[in-house]
């Protein structure tokens, strides 16, 4: 088992190397000069040249790439010229904010999504089922930014219940934190919630129609036991896959939600970085997102092994 995990871990290294290379190339392909972006269009040619030299931009691309890789190996992610700070602490400071939003959204999505999925599976082809599956369809296809603005209009502007934006401060009490989390959390949760509901439903329907469930029922096992203990357990594996994928998706999808709600996470930082042609910061944030993505996939694989021992050998 440990060997498997270790092997899986080592496999992530080439993936990350590819990500690093691609981001490096992509940032270099962005039109516009980072030195100009920092100094403004009115800066003199000498000032710009000096800035370019300071940022190593006067070196050839392979040289820049090697320098960047060297830095990475030594744990140096570079210096962000737009924030005037090292990239690593900058990114590390933001991760908890994004992570807390993402996790709240996912927990919410999992609870509501799976519940709806299970109920819909039990009540297959009833009005309840149709209603929620249509709702889930809307949930998957609705643009987050639209949904966010509508929710704010209703709950903040009209009803005055929740703050429009920002992140709460624990200094003002737990209520402040929660009230600031509700709207962005819910918005971010819509897509995974809908996905969970649909996945759970189909997985449950499949499980509930299998022979052993029929046997359990025939033996007179109570219905809630049949569904909750025996059915759900076997319907779980596909859910775990979806959960892992959604975790990564939500993490990156938080960019839009964070932008709308002025949530000080990775998303707002990526936006600033791109607008300022801040190469090191773009590379840094993309790399961290990639690490998150790869890490989530790894978690899914491991969880799969635990849930379904048959996978181990594969």
């Amino acid at each position: 088992m440990v060997k498997m995990i270790l092997k899986r871990f080592l496999q992530t290294i080439p993936t990350l190397l590819i990500v690093v290379t691609i981001t490096f190339c992509l940032t270099r392909m962005l039109p516009g000069d980072p030195a100009v972006a920092i100094l403004g269009v009115e800066a003199s040619a000498e000032d710009i040249a000096a800035m370019r030299a300071e940022m190593n931009l006067d070196k050839s691309l392979p040289e820049q790439y090697m320098l960047y890789l060297q830095g990475l190996v030594q744990g140096d992610f570079g210096y962000s010229y737009s924030y005037r700070e090292d990239v690593l602490p900058l990114v590390l400071a933001r991760i908890p904010n994004t992570l807390s939003l993402t996790l709240v959204a996912l927990v919410f999505a999992t609870i509501v999504g799976t519940t709806v999925g299970i109920v819909a599976a039990i009540k297959q082809n009833t009005l309840f089922d149709y209603f929620f599956m249509v709702l889930a369809l809307i949930g998957v296809s609705m643009p987050i930014f639209w949904m966010a603005l509508m929710l704010v209009l209703q709950f903040s502007v009209r009803m005055g219940l929740l703050p429009v934006m920002g992140m709460g401060d624990i200094k003002n009490g737990i209520g402040d934190v929660i009230s600031h989390l509700l709207l962005p959390g819910f918005c971010l949760a819509t897509t995974p919630m809908a996905t969970f509901a649909r996945t759970t439903r189909s997985s449950m329907i499949e499980t509930l129609s299998s022979d052993y469930i029929r046997c359990l029922r025939a033996r007179g096992v109570r219905e809630w036991k049949v569904i909750g203990m025996h059915g759900l357990k076997n319907a779980l594996p596909p859910l775990v896959t979806v959960l892992g994928l959604q975790l990564a998706h939500t993490f990156t999808g938080a960019i839009i939600t964070e932008g709308i709600f002025s949530w000080p996470g990775m998303g707002t930082m990526i936006n600033t970085a791109i607008n300022n042609r801040d190469y090191s910061l773009i590379q840094g944030t993309v790399l961290f997102s990639a690490i998150m993505f790869v890490f989530c996939n790894m978690l899914v694989d491991v969880a799969y092994m635990l849930l379904n021992p048959k996978v181990k050998g594969a």
Binding site: G32, D33, G40, R84, V119, L149, S262, T268, T272
Partner: protein, 576 residues
């Protein structure tokens, strides 16, 4: 069974909530209180209105109600008994990144800086001219090479890490101005002309120049030349950028990047103390969210509204539109291609119905028609030259084109940044010019790419015209010198390649004179010459769009996007 019911109920409730909000979106227009009136009243208060009448009334079709062309707009009541306390919350779309006067480059930074730090001179209430601030008065030598500046004797720095309420002296002025010259990444304090500062006494300095520079004193009102204490700058090193100390009415308390910047009232301020306890600049990147926050009271003033948010602010009675310190224009390639011929340029200008085009581009009334390459509230602005822009006459344009040797028209290119406003403008030009047989190829790209293509494009026949806007303080130098000086021919501001010996002479003269009346006479000549050469179509002043909560009083919104909080002529207070 019961559990299922509860879940179902919960979800149904959720669903109902969503449906309600869905309907809510269309019902936003019911709260129409007097937005237009408030803003229009405010505009009427400003004395400079008469001068700009000629411009303000030009586009009857544009929804310009409440929009003003003055440099400053007053907000709220100015004569009531002010209330002390409260925090003024101002939203802006992007974080200030460095607050060091020599390093800052964006307006977001100057918003914060100008409340914490102060300059020797400052812009007057109408934003037309500068007046002494940390200085008391000044004299210029006849040769324009030295300025004797007397300083206030009662100015103290805020408490910082290395200075505790020390008095500001002439040494600080010397240090700050010379630092600004040496270390600024962009041209500050007219650095090619400013030589050094001589300290005469604690309250007097003589500023020596290498050559006369007319705009010098107004450059000293720019926040990049703010007076800072040496101990703090050197003590903090690079970190001074996030620990600034100045002499201003507010002190910097906290910066959380991408979240907010908090300022607190400076209890030891030498001038009139602010009514508000502090200012919070909150970073809100989404305009619609900024409006929502003003409506709920989370934000008092929202800056930089865009697109539909402008309409929403208007519907909610919160909108203010002020003139901008920028001119939006298209310029022609003056050296190569068909547009090198002034007749062709005149024809292209005549072919466009600018009065109809401007409200077409700016659907929310967020711009006013312009005529000249200068802001309308500048002291050098002379409305009589507006008539030099040929009026809309497609037939006349066709005749001119034929005269110039293009009876069947030609094909030309237009380079713009890919924003809605520019693209809409380009499409309209495509239509208008199409009517006279000119085919327009639109090249729309990211601004960064635009900046890489357009400068120096006069050297060949690829870029025939380009559209962009240019921003500067009201001194005409900031516009005409950048547009028409041979020295700027490699810069983006003169990418059309304007070069003319007579013009260069006039520009040097206008720059080196220190008397404003004399300068105005020169700039009149310059403007008349330029307007007769059809260098471009200077079509719009895009205005600044703000949403201001009705509880904000005695604030000033200025064309360069600044909210003035505590100055010699205003002091914001908040209605509880």
């Amino acid at each position: 069974m019961r559990k299922r019911k509860i879940t179902a109920l919960l979800l149904a409730g959720l669903m109902a909530g969503m449906t309600l909000t869905g309907c809510g979106s269309s019902g936003g227009a019911d709260s129409t209180t007097g937005a237009g009136t408030t803003a229009a009243d405010a505009a009427g208060d400003t004395s400079a209105a008469a001068e700009t009448d000629g411009v303000g009334g030009m586009s009857p079709d544009a929804s310009v109600e409440g929009q003003s062309l003055e440099g400053t707009v007053k907000i709220g009541v100015t004569d009531a008994e002010p209330v002390e306390g409260g925090t003024l919350v101002i939203s802006m779309p992007s974080s200030p990144l460095t607050l060091d006067p020599v390093d800052y480059t964006t307006v977001y930074e100057s918003h914060v800086m100008s409340n914490v730090m102060e300059t020797l001179f400052t812009w007057n209430e109408d934003y037309t001219d500068v007046e002494p601030w940390l200085a008391t008065d000044y004299t210029v030598s006849d040769d324009g090479l030295s300025y004797t500046v007397n300083l206030r004797d009662d100015v103290y720095f805020q408490d910082g890490q290395y200075v505790q309420g020390r008095k500001m002296t002439a040494e600080d002025v010397k240090y700050s101005l010379e630092r600004s010259k040496e270390e600024s990444a962009t041209d500050r304090v007219c650095r090619d002309f400013f030589d050094y500062v001589e300290v005469v006494s604690d309250t007097q300095v003589i500023i020596h120049m290498t050559a006369p520079a007319g705009p010098f004193i107004s450059e000293l009102a720019e926040i990049g030349t703010a007076i800072v204490p040496k101990e703090e700058v050197e003590g903090w090193g690079d970190d001074f950028a996030s620990h600034i100390v100045g002499t201003g009415p507010f002190t910097l308390e906290e910066i959380v990047t991408d979240e907010h910047v908090v300022l607190a009232k400076n209890e030891n301020y030498w001038g009139t103390k602010p009514h508000v306890d502090g200012i919070e600049f909150r970073i809100v990147s989404d305009s619609n969210q900024a409006i929502n926050a003003v409506e709920t009271g989370e934000v008092d003033i929202a800056m930089y509204l865009q697109g539909e948010a402008i309409q929403r602010a208007k519907d909610a009675g919160l909108l203010y539109q002020t003139a901008s310190s920028a001119i939006t224009y298209i310029r022609f390639n003056l050296q190569n291609g068909p547009t090198a011929d002034p007749k062709v340029r005149q024809a292209l200008t005549m072919a466009v119905d600018i009065d109809a085009m401007v409200p077409g581009i700016y659907q929310y009334g967020e711009a006013t028609r312009a005529y000249q390459p200068l802001t309308a509230y500048s002291w050098a602005y002379n409305a009589s030259y507006n008539d030099l822009v040929p009026s809309y006459d497609p037939e006349g344009a066709k005749a001119l084109l034929a005269e110039a040797g293009y009876p069947d028209g030609f094909t030309m290119s237009l380079y713009i940044g890919s924003t809605t406003y520019r693209e809409r403008m380009a499409q309209m030009l495509q239509y208008y010019w199409g009517e006279i047989g000119v085919t327009l190829d639109i090249h729309s790209s990211a601004m960064a790419e635009w900046s890489a293509t357009v400068p120096d494009s006069w050297q060949d026949d690829v870029v025939n015209s380009y559209g962009v806007s240019w921003n500067s303080d009201p001194d005409p130098y900031g516009f005409v010198d950048k547009f028409f000086n041979t020295q700027t021919i490699h810069a983006s501001s003169n990418a059309g390649g304007y070069t003319d010996e007579e013009m260069d002479k006039l520009l040097v003269e206008g720059f080196s004179l220190t008397d404003q009346e004399e300068r105005k006479a020169i700039y009149d000549q310059i403007m008349e010459k330029v307007m007769n050469e059809y260098t471009g179509i200077y079509y719009a002043y895009e205005c600044r769009n703000w949403a201001v909560s009705p509880k904000v009083h005695d604030a000033r919104l200025r064309a360069d996007n600044q909210v003035l909080v505590a100055t010699s002529f205003n002091n914001v207070w908040l209605e509880p």
